[in-house]
Symmetry: C2
Subunit: 208 residues, 2 copies
């Protein structure tokens, strides 16, 4: 029997323990869950990043495909955007731990790190960029705008989605509306409030 099936088993085990302990689960823990010891893991995946990477790719497919499909949906643009937002939120809602892994990988490599967007999210950002480039007429600046917006929208949904998952301030559809409204320029369209000037916000050091 080739290595593939065992690899799958190991990934399943890793999946379970991460589901249970969140990312950051130790290699020992994963090995134990699989009923084996560390060196086997390392034989199969090289190092921790390899394991996480494999695990990631496995789940990225689903989310990415869902988002891609949503981006290609033959809807009015606003509806399409809402559909994409809802798809993402539904994804992170369904399996928080897994998507935490996708969206908040342990830093680990100090090499090219410093990126707010994990690989899976970078793929989503690229998907959005491509969609914008292909679907929206943005004139001469379109490449720059599409790239910046792809990253920006992804980061926006990531941060807002995290907050939503944590605090559950409202239903998913309401959240989708809120974000779509933001992207739809409601910030620009809304009227000023009467007292636009306020008496200087309190400056407490915020003992975090």
């Amino acid at each position: 029997m080739s290595r593939e099936p065992r690899r799958e088993q190991l990934l399943n085990a890793a999946d379970r323990v991460i589901q249970r302990e969140g990312p950051g689960a130790s290699m020992n823990a994963i090995a134990a869950e699989a009923g084996i010891t560390k060196p086997i893991l390392y034989r199969h995946f090289g190092d921790r990043n390899g394991l996480i990477g494999a695990l990631t790719e496995r789940h990225t497919g689903g989310l990415l495909a869902a988002v891609r499909a949503a981006l290609a949906e033959p809807l009015e643009r606003r509806d399409r955007v809402e559909h994409v937002l809802d798809t993402y939120l539904a994804g992170i809602e369904a399996r928080p731990q897994v998507y935490r892994l996708l969206t908040h990988p342990e830093p680990g490599d100090p090499s090219g790190a410093g990126n707010a967007l994990a690989p899976a999210l970078r793929q989503i950002a690229e998907e959005i960029t491509r969609a914008v480039q292909n679907q929206v007429d943005l004139g001469a600046d379109r490449d720059l705008l599409a790239e910046a917006w792809g990253r920006g929208i992804t980061g926006m949904v990531l941060a807002a989605g995290d907050w939503w998952l944590e605090t559950r301030p409202c239903s998913r559809t309401r959240m989708v509306q809120a974000l779509a409204d933001l992207l739809w320029g409601r910030l620009a369209a809304a009227a000023d409030l009467p007292t636009a000037v306020l008496p200087a916000a309190p400056v407490e050091p915020a003992a975090d």
Copy 2:
């Protein structure tokens, strides 16, 4: 002489080594830079989080105050938004390593982690939320919208800012324009491109 001055010296040393090696610099390295050994650091800051926290608070002040000031600027709303965006980008541009520390802390604590926004950024998000609540008339939903938007905008700028810092695809002012345009509903306003339907994007596994 009380502990405060020494604390400052130690923080300065930590600052230097982080400037040089990025976040993730080891306590040993920091101690060495300060010309001392680890236990002293621990006496002063308790643990690594304590040190990083102190370091963070030290720099958070500047960025936060700048953003807060920009948010309170008596400008047209669009100009104010641009001003805030520019302030943030200027900040991360000026001292990338420092702001990497503020914006991408090592996870460390597996407790309430899972948040896309570091403490410093959460403060900025709150600042934005407050500004939106106080300045923009959003009707009944205003609390929810303001909170969601605060997080969302912060995440957007974080992700886009990281990308911009890394690849420098354009000038800062251009980047500010791109993001302000996004927030201003240009995505909604732009016309469709002729061939809105495309021949299914290639589905390569993306050997990341």
